[in-house]
Symmetry: C2
Subunit: 378 residues, 2 copies
């Protein structure tokens, strides 16, 4: 049985079941086409249904069409270095910002990462946060329209509004929504108030691109936002990037070998993919040539499908050749290795030059300056 | 039955029972004499046993004698204007600061006042906080050794340390200590972490002069402080100033007529005392002259005893004359009225000139400047 909470994703995830359980809506073809049409271009993660579920995305598009507008919000828990799975929602978020020219708020949840694990160390989290923020800036958001903030640094500006939100949430709710119990510490129990805050940064509808495990926060937000004079947030939910080890769970920082880190060099990437990537291939080359492989469970193929091979025709050829046995596992993996290494090299290069953009997004850009001058009370 | 929690004090309070129930220690004669001897003078509130209970005051005095030193901490919940009962622990705190030349931290708990009551209004609390801080500054603390801070303003400097404290407190604890339940909002449930923070401002022992209803916070502090590398806090507990209406409960902001507000003019004070002060006198003058009054239940006499008549001989004469029937209720009340009006006039005058001292205590004094430069992490 799969378990999906903001703190753990394990097991084989049945995404249709999650949509039913969480009460979200599947992205249907029509809504997807409307989004693409308004954006003026398609995106591989939409196209391949990696973003598969939503709340009120139709209303967001309506607000966009009526010139009321909307804004974007996503975040990162700085528990350690970032792997490739962490970048995925950010890449899609960047595309949304570019296409719709909207403000984007990125919350770095150092407080949550500290209170959610007993052994978490504050200094370690602060170092991870600084490191992560540079990776995030390297994604290339609009420096005048993006505000990246660390919870512990921005707390003074939001604390009164957090208290207003906190007053609307009781222990029955955090018990029901997050499974908190009497052993839960009061810091973790308070934290949901902060994760809700950025949805209230503007008096417009907020759209949150994030993996579906974060949805419980948005359920609470949608219950209380209107009573505080704000809009219910919208969300667009992604699946999880499967770990190298197979299609169950999500890529996790606690299993270092099954993740590709943003700092992994070309040889490390090659070794990891060759050694750990769960394969849909056969036990021997002879068998594979004769019977063919299974791309549906092959992690290399899945990664190519989610992000690294945007060209439908090329992807189809990989799929068909693999299934037919014409393409061997090692060859398919090599395709992924090459794409991954190109991607990581480009990221590393952007990261080298991201310090200035980061300063703009945290302090000096147009939106950042405005946010530091704002005391959020209502 | 009396109920005593940080949010409510009702009924006839049995202070001996509270000492047993809370697990504090009564101030015995020897400890009181040691405090007076080190202070170099006596204080009426010690002398009359208004401060009646403590935790580790003996260790505080030992730290003072060994030159390790200690520091003071008290606070105020800015729910509205202040009455005379609110000033009492502050007056005693000022005396302690003067006699021992120590740092003092005064927490203005605007966050707690907002989350503890459903109908509480943020703007109202902010106005009350500004008003209260001027009254507090008027008490006359040492502007270089005092730091007055509002929770919502100082939050950024303490948030990491608050999270460390919060991580040590779970829902079982807040349920047991404060009686929180599933309907308690997550803001109120988090708040105890903040009230504990100032006890960790220095790596010395903290001494908290406050009414005994605040003790539950210090119990939690004493359970967790050492594991965080700090000292268990000490406390010196006062009784409650009885309301005009009689010896039960404490003077309360929600019953305006039974309190003397710091802004009450001479006529208002006279009218309130004459009309509402519960009297130990007899029904008629004739009966009173014949049978005498009961000073033990007479609120005017009790107030004189706690603060307003420092001279033992004069107090004894009031007591004996009242008991003998020589002093009438109206005459006894007039003695209190005169003292109250002198006290309030002096306070009002000091308050008029307190703005500069307040700026020092909040921002510009030696301790305040140091505190704004400090990020409390450990």
């Amino acid at each position: 049985m799969a378990e999906v909470t903001p703190w753990e994703v394990s097991g084989e995830v049945d995404y249709d079941k999650l949509v039913a359980e969480f009460g979200t809506r599947k992205m249907d073809g029509e809504l997807g086409r409307r989004l693409v049409s308004l954006a003026g271009e398609d995106h591989v993660m939409l196209h391949r249904k990696f973003f598969f579920s939503h709340r009120d995305l139709d209303l967001v598009l309506k607000d966009y069409e009526s010139k009321k507008g909307f804004f974007l919000y996503t975040g990162r828990g700085p528990s350690g270095p970032m792997h490739i799975g962490h970048l995925i929602p950010l890449i899609f978020t960047k595309w949304l910002q570019e296409r719709f020219k909207v403000n984007l708020y990125i919350e770095i949840t150092d407080d949550e990462k500290f209170v959610c694990k007993k052994e978490a160390d504050w200094d370690h989290i602060q170092k991870a946060a600084a490191d992560n923020m540079l990776d995030i800036a390297a994604v290339g958001f609009d420096p005048e329209r993006t505000f990246i903030f660390k919870d512990s640094e921005y707390i003074k500006n939001v604390y009164p509004l957090m208290l207003k939100v906190a007053k609307k949430i009781n222990l029955t709710t955090t018990r029901a929504v997050f499974g908190f119990n009497d052993q839960t510490n009061i810091g973790l129990n308070f934290y949901p108030a902060y994760q809700i805050i950025p949805t209230l940064f503007e008096k417009k509808r907020c759209l949150i691109p994030a993996a579906i495990d974060q949805d419980p926060y948005w359920r609470i937000q949608r219950d209380i936002a209107e009573s505080l004079g704000f809009e219910k947030t919208a969300a667009i939910h992604s699946k999880f990037l499967p770990p190298l080890s197979g299609m169950a769970g999500k890529m996790s920082s606690s299993q270092a070998d099954t993740a590709i880190w943003l700092t992994d060099g070309p040889k490390v990437v090659r070794n990891k993919v060759m050694k750990y990537a769960f394969s849909g291939g056969r036990a021997t080359v002879e068998e594979h040539r004769k019977l063919g492989g299974n791309p549906d469970v092959d992690v290399a193929y899945q990664w190519l499908s989610i992000l690294f091979e945007e060209d439908d025709a090329k992807l189809k050829k990989l799929h068909d050749d693999y299934k037919a046995g014409a393409l061997l596992t090692g060859e398919l993996k090599q395709v992924l290795v090459d794409r991954l290494n190109e991607f990581l090299a480009a990221h590393a290069k952007r990261r080298e030059h991201a310090a200035h953009a980061l300063r703009q997004m945290t302090h000096e850009g147009k939106l950042a300056r405005k946010m530091w001058e704002t005391n959020h009370v209502e």
